[in-house]
């Protein structure tokens, strides 16, 4: 077999030969072809990702394990991660999305954590096209079909539409789990003499070489090149969750790894490499679903709902009994040994003989070049005069509310069980965060998921920073201190120097914001090659940030104002239209430069917002983001079912103030008896009183007057 048939480049092949000290056999080449694919090895992004800050005072486990874990006190930790499943969802929307949900749940389970919630970042193409409709319907059904059955509530997410995703929908699945700090299962603790046990479903030919598939641009005729799609079974996953947690409770697990991309091989070699040991795998012991599977098929199969456990040999009987109680397969398929070798045996024959760390770490840097896009400065070419002031801002608002990206998403989340496990205090709907109570404590976890691809396209560095900042602002307004972040970087091919430069810049911007706002990256995922011959996606970093609210009293919700409350605007009154949803609506595209990241303003806002919430200085709060102030006001009116009368001297051109985006800004409804304290809290930070809460329309003097029921109709009718 030629190395290129296995998916290896010449550079990689040479490196492999050098490591082995000989030529690899066919099985070894096929295995390394997958293990050194982009999806498995992160070869194109390892260096770039090292720019993220990963340490912080709440971080218990950072990148490098199955997921990250943050400390929330009371002996508890929250494990979380986001992962993409883009290419499979493009080809088989239901199963692609379903198995994406299943896969990330197992990553959380692998730490010994009980998965308690999911979120999804969904990026669809042109709204209204039948292709978008088919993809989005299938993907949403798949997320619901799997998540509901497995008993993990889907509590929020981010949904965004843009033509660039027409043939490349994105599905980023986020999961969070709760774990006792002293019960965390690591993948670094395997020791010689222990045995590796496969728990869960039988192994078939599902998704063979799917990991490599994810690293290749989708060919024109995907039907012809479609590999075996992974099929998910949420019922078995539910049994797997209960079995593994029961084993963990009884202290029977030394180390655990989920079988995702490249299944058995990646999970077992990872444990070996991280624990600094060797592994001998016995493929003739693997329970199979199909006849005549070859060793490399067994090695790379992506059959779902399987976990690899490392246990003490004397505990095998006890482990088997529990696993069989849950009607799952339990088979000893490997042994942990001294050294660092990774050996695959099929009966008496040695089929592959590699070094454990070579498999996971040895992939050479492909050395892609970076080059600033030549049209970058052209993208910034935008003056306000280029966009004449609209004659009907009210009509613009109605149209903006009805766009699929900003409009009501209940058609999506009413298909998700967002309440199972009875922890959901604030679920999906007309708010910016999801909030879960933590049973047995007074604490609550707040979750935010964000993306801003248009701004990343215009200015990668600023867009990256804004993406992270936007998520942190949402958490701050509801009273949650950010503890840590996970992220999924969805980008086109890194082999194009301009695109690789953009990726690097986006990460730099994100990292700067993480550093300044003390929000380390604890886990993440990268999905590259999101492009076809007809186009490539916008640079789309997706972030998931987890924050902590000390007690329910400190939670500041949205949609809770009352008549007579004073509505305040906090934040600098000079946002920009560049890269905004409004600009997209009015011009069909985005141009100009988003605001620069202002770290001191962000830090200041964060602290004041947290204190505003914990001191109970406002009744309702909402961050300003997509669609700007006007959309935030409209959404708040809709949530409350009542309006405001606003009369202010608008300091900039009207549409800039009402629809501009960027920078830390929020609206707060403050009861009259707290106004003095509120003003004191925000003294020194730009703010102004906008309106009184009264009436049943959104009334902005000399600008627009729309009854709240019309706003709601537009928002719900998208």
């Amino acid at each position: 077999m030629h190395y290129s048939e296995a998916g290896l480049t010449e550079l990689e092949y040479q490196a492999l030969v050098k490591e082995l000290g000989r030529e690899p056999n066919d099985t070894e080449m096929l295995i390394m072809g997958v293990m050194w694919s982009e999806h498995c090895s992160y070869k194109s992004t390892k260096k770039i990702l090292s720019g993220f800050p990963t340490k912080g005072r709440y971080v218990l486990m950072g990148p490098g394990e199955n997921a990250g874990i943050v400390d929330i006190g009371d002996g508890l930790g929250l494990a979380f991660k986001v992962e993409s499943h883009n290419h499979p969802s493009a080809v088989a929307p239901y199963q692609g999305a379903a198995t994406g949900v299943g896969g990330i749940i197992r990553d959380i389970l692998a730490l010994g954590a009980r998965p308690i919630a999911s979120m999804d970042g969904l990026f669809f193409g042109k709204p209204g096209s039948s292709k978008t409709r088919n993809l989005s319907t299938g993907i949403v059904k798949g997320i619901g079909g799997y998540g509901n059955a497995v008993g993990v509530p889907t509590v929020g997410g981010k949904t965004f539409y843009h033509e660039s995703y027409n043939d490349n929908p994105l599905v980023n699945a986020f999961c969070i789990g709760l774990v006792n700090v002293d019960g965390i299962v690591s993948s670094k603790t395997a020791e010689p003499g222990q045995i590796a046990v496969l728990v869960g479903s039988k192994t078939g030919r599902d998704g063979i070489a799917g990991a490599a598939f994810a690293s290749v641009e989708l060919a024109e005729d995907t039907k012809a090149s479609r590999p075996n799609i992974q099929i998910g079974d949420p019922f078995v996953e539910k049994l797997l969750i209960e079995a593994c947690l029961e084993l963990k409770e009884k202290g029977l697990i030394v180390s655990m790894q989920d079988m995702g991309a490249a299944g058995i091989t990646s999970s077992s070699s990872e444990i070996a490499a991280k624990s600094g040991v060797g592994m001998i795998m016995h493929f003739d012991m693997v329970p199979l679903r199909e006849e005549g599977m070859t060793p490399w098929e067994i090695a790379l199969s992506e059959s779902q709902e399987r976990m690899l456990l490392v246990i003490l040999p004397e505990k095998l009987e006890e482990v088997s009994a529990i696993v069989r109680k849950w009607d799952l397969d339990c088979a000893v398929i490997g042994e942990v040994v001294h050294g660092s070798e990774y050996i695959i045996m099929d009966g008496e024959n040695t089929v592959a003989h590699l070094d454990a760390s070579t498999i996971g770490e040895g992939c050479p840097d492909p050395g892609w070049k970076m080059k600033e896009p030549s049209d970058l400065h052209d993208r910034w070419d935008f003056e306000l005069e280029d966009l004449p002031l609209s004659t009907d801002l009210g009509k613009d608002l109605i149209e903006l509310l009805a766009t699929p990206s900003l409009g009501d998403k209940s058609w999506i989340f009413e298909q998700y069980d967002h309440m199972v496990q009875i922890n959901t205090s604030i679920g999906p709907g007309n708010q910016d965060v999801s909030v879960l109570r933590i049973k047995g404590t007074s604490k609550m976890a707040a979750l935010s998921m964000e993306a801003d691809p248009c701004k990343c396209y215009l200015d990668p560095y600023r867009g990256g920073a804004e993406t992270v900042a936007r998520s942190i602002r949402s958490l701050a307004v509801c009273g949650a201190r950010p503890l840590g972040m996970t992220n999924c970087l969805n980008f086109p091919s890194p082999e194009v120097p301009e695109q690789y430069w953009v990726l690097d810049q986006v990460v730099r911007g994100m990292a700067e914001c993480c550093r300044k706002l003390d929000c380390p990256v604890v886990s993440g995922n990268v999905s590259l090659y999101n492009e076809t011959s007809s186009g490539r996606i916008l640079p789309t970093p997706v972030v998931g940030i987890v924050g902590l609210i000390e007690t329910e009293d400190h939670l500041l919700p949205s949609g809770k104002w009352e008549e007579g409350d004073h509505l305040f605007y906090v934040g600098a009154p000079n946002p920009v239209l560049s890269g905004s949803e409004y600009q997209r609506l009015r011009t069909g595209t985005v141009k100009g430069r988003p605001l620069d990241f202002n770290s001191s303003a962000e830090m200041d806002f964060l602290e004041r917002a947290l204190k505003t919430a914990s001191a109970g200085l406002a009744r309702s709060g909402r961050v300003i983001k997509g669609g700007g102030l006007c959309v935030a006001l409209a959404k708040e009116c809709i949530a409350n079912g009542s309006g405001i009368r606003m009369k202010v001297n608008i300091p900039t051109r009207k549409d800039v103030f009402l629809f501009g985006e960027g920078g830390p800004r929020a609206i707060y409804a403050v009861p009259s008896n707290r106004v003095v304290l509120f003003r004191k809290m925000w003294e020194g930070f730009p703010f102004m009183m906008l309106a009184k809460v009264e009436g049943d329309s959104l009334h902005i003097e000399d600008t627009l007057d729309i009854p709240v029921e019309y706003l709601e109709k537009a928002w719900r009718n998208n």
Partner: protein
């Protein structure tokens, strides 16, 4: 009061129900695995919880209804003791013929998760004695197969016998198709057997038992049960 909560492979809401009942009543609640032959000793109340037993494969609740533990559950019910089926649990009860009817796919052919207004029609049951007759409460629903069905003759009989305990309604208590989320015949959300010791409902009272979750109308159900048991000298 002693409660046994049955766990089938794929049940999801067992832990939720255990938590809610314990929080509200402070009484012992124990999980019982579906392969057991007996319930916990002196069980007063058996709950079949929500979820996706057997993945909802074949028909919802069909395979669970043939589980070994169901014999003990039937004996418990035929002795007049209390049996409550929530959502998937209701489906198990209809498949077991412990309650009349069948739950078909929602008319929208989608899963629906949202809070609904429910009218309490019978307050003379052990499960609803603390509600007011005609009271409108809010319970969440979360199901794909909640369309309650009976052939016309049997449906008439069910209504004539006053076996309908809960109906979907408007916030003002109006029972109309506009406020029927899944197409259930006659807006039926929950029914009891003739004797009144078995209740099945599609909405989830355990999800509406604590204010942090958005409502406490469900808490009255657990309190009703305890009050009834005290009166009966259980």
């Amino acid at each position: 009061m002693k409660t046994s909560v049955i766990i089938f492979p794929g049940s999801n809401c067992d832990r939720d129900v255990i938590h809610a009942v314990q929080e509200i009543t402070g009484e012992p609640v124990a999980p019982v695995w579906h392969k057991e032959d007996t319930l916990c000793p002196d069980t007063d109340l058996v709950i079949l919880p929500g979820g996706f037993s057997y993945g909802d494969y074949l028909r919802c609740g069909a395979m669970a209804s043939t589980s070994p533990i169901m014999k003990a559950v039937r004996d418990h019910a035929s002795s007049g003791r209390l049996l409550l089926g929530i959502c998937n649990g209701f489906q198990v009860l209809t498949e077991s013929r412990l309650l009349p009817g069948s739950l078909l796919s929602n008319k929208t052919l989608t899963f629906i998760c949202k809070r609904c207004y429910i009218k309490v029609e019978r307050t003379d049951t052990p499960f609803t004695s603390l509600y007011n007759e005609g009271q409108v409460v809010q319970f969440p629903i979360a199901h794909h197969e909640g369309l309650y069905f009976l052939p016309p003759g049997e449906l008439r009989e069910l209504e004539d016998n006053g076996q309908v305990v809960f109906r979907y309604c408007s916030p003002d208590g109006e029972v109309s198709p506009d406020f029927n989320p899944n197409g259930a015949l006659n807006n039926i959300a929950g029914v009891k057997n003739r004797k009144g010791n078995i209740l099945g409902l599609m909405p989830h009272p355990e999800r509406a038992s604590e204010s942090v979750l958005g409502g406490t109308d469900g808490a009255l159900m657990w309190r009703s049960i305890i009050k009834w048991l005290e009166k009966e000298g259980a």
